[in-house]
Amino acid sequence: MQWLYLYFPNLQLDSLLHQQAYNQACVLVDKNEVVQTNSEARQLGIKIGTGLGQAALLSAQLKVIAYEPKQEQRLLAQLAQRLYQTSATLYLDPPQGLLLQTSDMLRLYEGLAPYWQQLQQPLMERGLHYHYASAHSPLAAQVLARAGNDRLLTHQGEATGLLHQLPIHSAGLNYKLCLQLERLGLNTLGQAQALPRSALGQRLGQTLVTYLQQLEDSSAPSRPRYQPPEHFRQRLELLYEIEHSTALRFPLKRLLSDLEAFLAPRQLQAAGLILGLEYREHTSERVYIGCSDGEYRAESWLGLSMLRLEQLQLQAPIIAISLKTKGQMPWAPLSAQLFEPLGGKLTAGQLISRLQNKLGDHAVQQVYLRDDHRPERSFYQGAPQSSYQAHQATTYLRPSLLFTLPQALNHKPDQQWCILSGPERIQSGWWDNVSICRDYFIARNPTGQVCWLFRTPREEWFLHGYFS
């Protein structure tokens, strides 16, 4: 059997930078250590393993992004999903590798070269840096690819020869074993291979012997091979925060083309998409885009989505978007549905989507509570979630009817008013630059309504709500 290994040393950074041309040094950092670099950073001498402090000394304008292993895993899965169209047997090797069994594919593609060309296409589209190698065993392919071999070897002899010369520290052995070998003066894989296996095993343990055996073993890995997901679900982290909904077009296009690539070979289409918008401040919003007849083409979906997004006012800058399908169905719609009577009872979720379909998404809103001293900020309206449970977090007395805009009173409450309690002073909100300073009172007005009033430092009076 023949195996091909693809190694993506810069997976997370590449996919971030692919969205937007960025010609300054940029690095991913994990525990204050550089783990991925772009070419500009490398030119400045920033290497993998460089400390953040040192990196900062090398470039004052350095852009630093946190490394996220989860994100990288997602990216790898997305990549596998795409390559699955070209290659039937593949294995994930997280966080940055994919293993492909090529023997079967060669018959289909009539040779390694055309097959390889097919494979490279999606990698280049995504602007990924990669190393690769093909070899007779999964491990040999992996080791050679990770060492940056970048050759398609068809003869076992070639691969064996290359492995022979490989420095021990590039062989993918664990650090301790590597050190032990080096301290015996065994600096290349060949030097270790030259010694009797039994003598090696006796001294350095079974791991090494197994490793050496696996280098020669062409059989498939024992772990399960990649199975594509049944539903489309993908997330994209943005390099830059996006503040206008129209600017979402470019990243969205990428997600939609992946969607098409997912749906088309399965002869599926989606009746709706849920676009997740992740805001900077750990909140997110979900936008539903519907197409009742079903659709799979990226272009059509992009048109629909942009129409929908143009109406959308972003609450805050967006840092990531995600896309998943809602209601996947085969291309030929079942006409029988047309005549089926609607059910008599609706769940909250069904009601919400029914209302949204009739009135438009933006017409259906839900009120959420938020912990904030400022009355206007103590709640907000957002896209409805059927599962939301309101909780009363405070013991403060607050009116059940609150005006969107406080109504100015023409004059100070006179004797006909009866102050029931107060003042309660609320002076807060410097952090988002919407500070208020008000003295609130609960008072009964001449007509007997219990009102929530406030006075500003300039002695202006406002009515802000009614108690029930």
Binding site: A56, A60, R183, A199, W430
Partner: protein
Amino acid sequence: MSSKPVVDYAELHCLSNFSFLRAASHPQELIQQADALGYKALALTDECSVAGVVRAYQHKKEHNLNIKLIIGSEFLLNPHQSEAQESLIVLARNRLGYAQLCQLISLSRQRCEKGKYQVFENDFDNLSECLLIWNPHPSNKSLLGEKLSSQYKDHLWIGCHRRLSALDQRLQTHCQTMAKAYDLPIVALGQVIMHSPDRQMLHDTLTAIRIGMPVHACGYALQANREHSLRSLDKIAKLYPLQWIQTSVLIAQQCNFCLSELSYEYPAELVPSGYDANSYLHYLVEQGKEIRFPAGVPHDIALIIDKELSLIASEGYAHFFLTVYDLVQFAKSQHILYQGRGSSANSVVCYCLEITAVDPRQIQVLFERFISKERAEPPDIDVDFEHQRREEIIQYIYQKYGRHRAALAATVITYRFKSAVREVGKALGISLPTLELFIKNVDRQDHSTGWDKQLHSLGLDSQSHVGRCFLELVQTLQGFPRHLSQHVGGFIISAGPLSELVPIENAAMADRTVIQWDKDDLASLALLKVDVLALGMLSAIRRALHMVHHYHGRKLSLADITRMDDDAKVYAMLQQGDSVGVFQVESRAQMSMLPRLQPACFYDLVIQIAIVRPGPIQGDMVHPFLRRRAGKENVDYPSQEVKGVLERTLGVPIFQEQVIKLAMVAAGFSGGEADRLRRAMANWKRHGELDQFQHKLVNGMVKRGYKTEFAERLYQQILGFGEYGFPESHSASFAVLTYASAWLKYHYPAAFYCAILNSQPMGFYSASQLIQDARRHGLQVLPVCINHSAWDHSLESTKTAELALRLGFRQVKGVRQIHIQQLLKHRPKQGFKDLPQVQTLHLPRGQLESLASANALTCFSGHRYQARWQLLDNYQDLPLLHQVQETNPEQLPGPDALDVLTEDYASLSLSLEQHPIALLRHAGLLKGCLSTSQMVHKPHQSLVTAAGIVTGRQRPSTASGVTFITLEDETGNTNLVVWQGTARAQRQVYLNAKILKVKGILERDPDNQVTHIIAGKLIDCSHLLEQLKISSRDFH
């Protein structure tokens, strides 16, 4: 305030930032503001703490504030719960009440780990001399009210605060109900957590830090308004019933304790019966005279002793000297080397008490500045002990005085720039990598560009709202206390229980306790502490003296060495800059100063130690001093008084004491003012307190007839000095060790290097550098060997009868002393004969592998790879196969020269084989490069190329933008001067290179032959020896 205030009010509930992360003002700010608002009194009631009170007290005293300061503390029954809850305020009514309060705090704190406390209702039983204010809370249904009211009927009140919150009414009703239920009066409280409403932003940020969330997500955990600040009396009058307000003043009137009442009682057991402290001190000094001056005390010295003793008696410091005497006597009995320093340590009395080895005949000039009455400064004696044995002294103190009578002073850890940026940034929701980038990139030494501007250039939008908030908050938070830590060695020892004087709490280290005050607080209250410090050089000197005795039969003490006349040969060595390993003068900067300063006597060393410091360098005192010393510049004094102060340093102020003294004689500062100036100098970077002295200093001098120019220059020098001024009294004590170590290096080099190596880690140089230096001095160094080495490095007689240094097992990475001891115990006299014999000891295999890699087994198995291969065979570990020798073991190829170096550096951090640079040179990879020794023959200003291992990069704050790189090759070290422009243009090489090749211009000072290379082109040659594990000491 001329008009009568609307009401009289005393604030009895006020937290400072010593209630960590709960309050947003310094104690000084609170007392200042309360006074300005016309409050009658302010009770500082930090949560289970009095850590901030001294600062408020000191501020009140210094600024002559009228307000009364009351000492108290707040206790929560469930301190770890974040919800609002009832609390109890305990106020000290008198000295006894204060002792009760301190004991309550100590009890509550010592139950818990560092920084926490737990108090139970029964703990409040012992507060007869305190006044209590109970703050009930509607959501608590505890029995506290019932318990307290039955116990403390006439000095218990209910406290009620109004802060215009929605819950005010509920609280007030509850308080009134409780008042009725227990028949207690109500008092108005402000529950103050900041001195001014403007601190709301900071307080919200502190809350965010405390609960670990960004401010915008903190919601109702933040205060709804700014009413927790000190409010005007008008407002107070509107908010509370008059009776409640009046009650606050009545309570304040009953509190009559002031911190000035605290006096320190020394342990009595130090004085034997039949003596009092003074007579016993006299007796000890008389005895000491005979030890120190066997030929009789010279007349002038005898006069000084009398003067000192009478001063000690009149100030009542005899006990203090006896305490220190007792400690050093213990050290002496245990053969622990020590040396006293500090203003009082350099007295003849201390010399006679054997606290110090500074011989008064050598530097008489010092003794004028013994404890000065006029400066109202308590005597200061720090004692340095061998760093590896200081713990024995600490345990002795605990044993002798008990844990209830002895504790360490605290160190208040405050927010510094980095921590402030990190915490404020997190609170404002700035991402962590961005913050790390800020922190790593801001050069705090760059005075030309402030940190705020630097942050701006790093991408912080300082015009945006968040950016502005960030800058302001970082600025304010700096200097805020974060937590209490233990002082490095400042002990306070008392006659009675210490916890009646100051609360004691647990330190992070097991079995260590600290008091709640730091050394400045103790000084403000004139409480004495004894500093028990650790010093590596003392360990080294003790070891060297021991070896000199053992191998040369000469028994010496520190004082013996200082008592001998100045040894010209020792000074000649130092004048060459040959000072690797010599205490205090071994750094690169000191080393290049030695040939310039040409020290020739003990006092020159005192100056040498103090002059290469940021203070004198920034104050621009070095060059004038050198010019005057070389006779190139005239020395003139504007007055006789100034001459008296500056004559010994040729008219240039070099020591901290001189600056203080100048302020007194030239600007007319009083003793107290001078002492404040000294403290302000120590802190001015943080608080900028020095500005207030400028006017007084300059005017005072002008008034006394000095030129404005002279006065301004002196002020600038003081600013430059700042916190880096070095006291002469410390310098003198250090100089003893400098001289002793230089003396040992010159006369007994083998013992000297061996002792320094055995005392690692210490000093400036790595073992590798020390050994190279030793070999350049002709010392033979022998490798680690399983049959010859001991754990420590040792001396061995060689055939030529000279002593050679044998490397010890301690140098081998990965081996542990306990296993080596076992190995040594079983080592036959004639040594092990083969590896299997060693293996019968069943040491952990890793230990033997480490020895194999260090080439310590070479006497058995050819080369180290083969030795490891043989060791790794785990069949040897199986008992049955024990005797089965592998018939034909594989032969591994041996290491080449580079492999040997790699292995040596990896397992020993040094190599006795070739120097890496020599290896490259022989391989023809460094064509055209001069070695350090060849550099001597090159003329000044010639173009040279050199290469070496980078052993250090330094960018002193005093040298604007210049980096000094030290290059090491097989013949020595070369200093490289890299100008900022050069460094910027070749940033990558400059920062990354481990092996550096440089083209540059050689410069040599004609006066003293100090040589360095001004770097031009830098070339990174690290790839030539990629595997070599070299570490450099960068930017320390």
